[in-house]
Assembly symmetry: C2
Homo-oligomer: 351 residues x 2
């Protein structure tokens, strides 16, 4: 039994409290500055309004201003904020970082720093105090995990990645339950690149859903599944190419973080809804307006990738026509180009 803090009280962070409680831990759930209403509800009635579930008794909810008290004496810290919250969360936990207090994050994303694409565990590590930065190895969880399902104990398999094997082993021991399976890998680039890219590609798969409806199609057996599955296969092909270009192992593109997470993401969620609007022929701005302010990670990763591509291509790491799907998705979602999926250019090995 340990004491574990989860920072970020949205869907995913709060869902993680379920296996933690079932594993026998005390859990301190700390809201971000955007989570005050959630924390208030959990404190008052136990109900998490977004999950639609009560959080079990050993979970204690804290407002963001109370993070110092919440983190006192915890054995590990989990970051459950969205990618937009990673700056706040990194700074907020920094004073509490210790070598014997592993950090694990479920936030996903990649940041182009002008030289390379940086994974979020590296972003968090860079924000740690200099005197502790060399002895802490932030880890990350990726793979097919819908928060509302994990919170209802649906069996779930995820990748657990980080540079330090001992940290991964400790975290797996803390987090696993009979329904929550963690598969460790020290290939952070392989796992995290897939975790970030899958949002862009899930948007691409959903384009065909919208195109089908635009052409008068109804939900049913005669849809455009052939297009969706061709895009799915090309997405995996391109993800593995980016992973290898950045020094990771392609096996993650073919595993939980790639194929698995792409599959689960196409089964619903806001990324798919956004892609459907674009496929229906709405402009980029019209599609964004339909999303009621929901965070669109797909736009963020497409912007980062577009910034990165010229440099990666100039270095010879990616062929000039190596990512035709991703480039088309960026043109559609960032520039408002019409949807014309480049199927004839798929599966090419650039000479």
């Amino acid at each position: 039994m340990a004491k574990i803090a989860v920072v970020g009280a949205g869907m995913m962070g709060s869902a993680l409290t379920m296996p933690l409680v079932d594993a026998g831990h005390e859990v301190e759930l700390v809201g971000s500055p955007l989570d005050d209403a959630i924390v208030a509800s959990v404190r008052e009635s136990g109900l998490h309004p977004k999950l639609g579930l009560p959080l079990d008794a050993p979970v204690k909810a804290w407002f963001h201003g109370e993070i110092g008290a919440a983190l006192a004496g915890v054995d590990a810290i989990a970051l459950g904020v969205s990618s937009a919250g990673i700056g706040w969360a990194s700074a907020a936990i920094a004073p509490h970082a210790r070598a014997d207090r592993p950090i694990v994050m479920i936030t996903k994303g990649l940041v182009w720093n002008g030289t390379t694409l940086v994974t979020l565990p590296e972003v968090v590590r860079a924000a740690l105090p200099a005197d502790r930065r060399e002895s802490i190895f932030p880890a990350a969880i990726a793979g097919p995990c819908i928060a509302g399902e994990l919170a209802r104990r649906v069996p779930t398999c995820v990748s657990l990645t980080g540079t330090d094997r001992a940290t991964l082993d400790r975290l797996r021991d803390l987090l696993r339950t009979p329904y929550y399976h963690l598969f460790p890998s020290t290939d952070v680039v392989g796992v995290e690149v897939c975790a970030a890219l899958k949002n862009a590609y899930a948007m691409g798969i959903a384009l065909a859903v919208g195109q089908h409806e635009q052409r008068g199609g109804q939900p049913g057996s005669i849809a455009m599944h052939n297009v969706e599955s061709a895009v799915f296969a090309q997405a995996v092909f391109e993800m593995s190419r980016v992973v290898v270009a950045l020094g990771g192992d392609a096996s993650h593109a073919h595993g939980l973080a790639g194929v698995g997470d792409l599959d689960v993401t196409t089964n619903g969620g806001r990324t798919g809804r956004f892609g459907r609007w674009l496929g229906l022929g709405l402009s980029r701005d019209e599609a964004i307006a339909k999303m009621d302010g929901a965070t669109l990670e797909c736009l963020e990763i497409l912007a980062q990738m577009r910034a990165a591509l010229p440099t990666l291509q100039a270095r010879g790491l990616l062929g000039v026509r190596g990512l035709p799907l991703l480039e088309h998705l960026a043109a559609v979602a960032l520039d408002g180009a019409p949807v014309t999926l480049p199927l004839a250019a798929f599966f090419e090995t650039p000479s």
Copy 2:
């Protein structure tokens, strides 16, 4: 413009006539002995009763007894029968086989012959007359293609495989249209092993759909997608392992024939319905009874794989616990074992 015969007038064979007509060919559609009602309907009104579409004018329908006249002077032969019909079709086309008349098949399956798993292009080739067997190289099409969609010109990407590159180039030139994209590969084992195995694994993914309903779940966002996607990723992991064990290239498991076809197959069809019944807790026989006599390729490939596994393992080609998902699926579908998906055993590299 060429003259092309399609043997087998079911959904898939008949759907193939659409790109053939659009590519400008004359098409002779020959029914199998099971297709008399379809041929009669097409002759009488043009309507293909299973596709729910009229077949375009340059398509001429023939009864199986007329195959000699139908095949006279054709430039290529496509086999569109089900795996159960491959014996009849191979024998029926054998007298008409010629070195300058390429054969391409859309039938999928693997046959354990006591020594190795034989792909269907090899089965067809073995049935050719001895004097022509060395100069004909049967090819095959695999990948995500729902017949009813191809027949409605939904953009479709498929793998085209065979041992002879010139045959593949000729077939691609004959078959391709602006919406039907064929990607050639001479790795027959890589493509065909995935094409066959995907039926078994699609059944496995659907088990979670049935389990969800059995536990009182309704269609909606809180389902068991986490399980489905973990099974999906493990399926790809195991497919690549079998491909490599049989001498093929794992890239096909990660491409159209593997990931792509698995994705499209989970989007509907009889394999998914059968898996759902098993997931709901029906016995094997009860589930079969629910299927109204539909061909269940998943049972056939599971039986062939079960027959093959001891030998492949004894030869050291597959680890003893290398295919935990496939072995569980065989136990459920062939022996009536209860569904207990072995998630904790996933993604293991046998030592």
